[in-house]
């Protein structure tokens, strides 16, 4: 192989690192997108037997969002293997114990189960906050676009903006809006 050809091959099969900010994102919706980058569906050279996937770094996994009643209704099952070893944990309790676990399970369960699944999962790096180690951060070359816009919290609006916001009625003076 010529020198140019060798370098072309290195560049073609080089692994990239992608950053994904999970703030206010639904992990179940994110899973197909993350899977695409982990398995290399986004490259035209993709083949199921070729290990051409990339690394994905997910940060702020503590800030994920579930729709509606999902935090209470969604239950994660675990069995120790012994008799009466089954346990069912609601999503909000699991998220308290390990803020990275729900995102990891969402991606893991979305992928089809085969011998490559655990290998592919090794390339997913999840961090509960934005403190990503420097040795990982220096590899990152791309940021995955968030799937849904991050809503602006009320605290971030200035007092002037809130006052100027159009309103239909003025609340009476003795009306309690909130306790704090």
């Amino acid at each position: 192989m010529s020198e140019l050809g060798r370098v072309k091959q290195w560049n073609t099969f080089a692994r990239c690192w992608h950053l994904f900010d999970a703030t206010w994102q639904n992990p179940l919706e994110c899973a197909p997108t993350i899977e695409k980058y982990l398995k290399g569906f986004h490259k035209p050279i993709y083949h199921p037997f070729v290990d051409c996937g990339d690394h994905v770094v997910v940060m702020n996994s503590k800030q994920i969002a579930f729709p509606g009643e999902e935090w209470r209704r969604r239950v994660y099952f675990h069995h120790t293997g012994y008799s009466r070893g089954a346990s069912w944990t609601p999503a909000w309790i699991l998220h308290d114990r390990d803020p990275t676990m729900i995102f990891k399970k969402a991606v893991y369960h979305h992928m089809k189960g085969n011998l490559f699944r655990r290998v592919v999962m090794e390339r997913l790096h999840i961090f509960s906050d934005s403190n990503v180690p420097e040795e990982i951060m220096e590899n990152i070359t791309n940021q995955i676009r968030p799937l849904r816009p991050r809503p602006k919290p009320l605290e971030s609006y200035s007092k002037k903006e809130i006052e100027e916001f159009p309103k239909i009625i003025d609340y009476p003076n003795d009306y309690v809006l909130s306790k704090n």
Binding site: F41, H42, K43, P44, I45, Y46, H47, P48
Partner: protein, 149 residues
């Protein structure tokens, strides 16, 4: 032994036993264990293998089609165009490239594929296909609405 009628021919055990079994053993040559050497086991394994081969001929085609689709959509994504708009625009221009050729172009001829995607973008803007309002019109593709039919 001479068979006088066709009826007797059907009842006969066919060709010589050695050659009849050899046909099966040749198919079973790459099997493991006794499935390769014992005729009564080999014939069952060969029967199963040939059934799988029949099914596999259909599955292989489907697998290749899904692989080509994955590769084409990856190529389209690199240039920021939706795969449905891409295929729709190409067929509207009478560009009759099949999935295999498009996938090969995406891998081996990236600039040709980019040219196709630019053409597809401008055509989908001309036809006002769904989602085409997000595309930027490529400057080097001059259609002047002539591709409209």
């Amino acid at each position: 032994m001479v068979f006088t009628t066709a009826m007797m021919m059907v009842r006969s055990r066919g060709p010589d036993e050695f050659w009849r079994k050899r046909k099966i053993f040749k198919i079973a040559a790459h099997f493991s264990g006794r499935r390769r050497n014992c005729y009564s086991i080999a014939i069952k394994a060969v029967h199963r293998a040939l059934q799988f081969a029949t099914i596999g001929r259909t599955i292989r085609k489907n697998d290749m089609i899904s692989l080509w689709n994955t590769r084409i959509s990856a190529g389209c994504e690199e240039h920021g165009i939706n795969i449905h708009n891409f295929k729709d625009s190409l067929s509207r221009c009478d560009i009759q490239l099949n999935k295999k050729v498009l996938a090969d172009l995406a891998i081996w001829e990236p600039s040709s594929f980019k040219a196709l995607s630019d053409l597809a973008k401008s055509v989908s803007i001309d036809y006002n296909l769904p989602g085409a309002d997000k595309y930027e019109k490529p400057t080097h593709v001059v259609t002047r609405g002539l591709l409209l039919k």
